[in-house]
């Protein structure tokens, strides 16, 4: 599965969490990064955060007892996943550019 594509939501969540952020911050950051194109819904984000925590790609920062203000951050494993995904995306773009001859 290491070469499988990440969902857009997971890709942007991981990218956001290079900086520590709480849930709502991630939603706002992703919308901003994508110029308003990707609007993460709260249920989708919540599910993704829990899966990413289980996989160890992100970690919850301790300190905040209040779960509403809980911040998350990407792990080394998460960064490695992002790098691999970036290579895959680059391949897609390069092939697309070459075959469609986009200048």
């Amino acid at each position: 599965m290491s070469s499988a594509a990440l969902t857009e939501a997971v890709y942007y969540i991981l990218l956001s969490l290079i900086e520590p952020m709480h849930g709502y911050g991630i939603m706002q950051n992703v919308e901003q990064l994508s110029n308003g194109r990707v609007k993460l819904a709260a249920g989708t984000l919540y599910g993704a955060i829990n899966t990413l925590l289980e996989k160890g790609w992100i970690t919850a920062l301790s300190g905040e007892k209040d779960s509403r203000k809980k911040e998350y951050q990407i792990t080394e494993e998460g960064k490695r996943i992002l790098q691999t995904e970036l290579l895959r995306l680059r391949e897609l773009i390069e092939n697309g550019n070459r075959i469609l001859e986009v200048k």
Binding site: T7, A9, G23, A41, A42, G43, G47, S67, R68
Partner: protein, 179 residues
């Protein structure tokens, strides 16, 4: 002004229910409380709120559900009420779009958990219904009419589950093309 409307939606018709609640909000009646086939509304500006509902895996009072509801509240959603495992939220339309799921993968996953919960209740009803039918046939003196109700609910539920399965199949087909 507060007003109560009684209305029945079959449990698998949650999309219709959500659509109706949003039509009410568009007309200036925002949902403020829910009960069994019962919806309470208060006046709002037409289109002021968007409504979403969701079936949770655990009862709303369970710590896991509470964490989820709290999380949604940090994103500007307001928890207006719960009935059994169904929770109802509203959010000001001025704060942007309001949906609980934004990609196919999470929608399909959610639909899967709805299907398994409804299927469980349906199978229980069918089982109790058939057992009663068996008793009625074997010992014709002890006819339990409640058993027929179970059977009817079971058959109805099975049809509902079938519709949800078809819906999920369509979503999965779409998911092969788009995220």
């Amino acid at each position: 002004m507060r007003q109560t409307i009684r209305k029945l939606f079959w449990v698998w018709d949650f999309d219709k229910e959500e659509k109706w609640l949003n039509e009410m909000a568009a007309k200036g009646l925002s949902l403020v409380a829910v009960g069994f086939c019962k919806y309470e509304f208060e006046d709002c500006k037409p289109g002021e709120y968007r409504i979403c509902l969701q079936l949770l895996d655990k009862m709303p009072g369970h710590p896991e559900s509470r964490k989820y509801i709290e999380f949604l509240e940090t994103t500007g959603a307001e928890h207006v009420g719960s009935f059994t495992r169904w929770v109802y939220f509203r959010k000001k339309a001025s704060e942007g779009e309001f949906e609980l799921f934004s990609d196919n993968a999470s929608r399909i996953k959610y639909l899967g958990s709805v299907i398994s919960l409804i299927a469980f209740v349906t199978i229980m009803n069918l089982f109790v219904g058939l057992y009663n039918l068996f008793l009625a046939v074997t010992y014709s003196s002890s006819v339990n009419y409640l058993g027929f109700l179970n059977l009817a609910l079971g058959i109805f539920g099975a049809l509902g589950v079938l519709r949800l399965f078809k819906k999920r199949k369509r979503m999965k087909e779409e998911g092969q093309l788009f995220e």
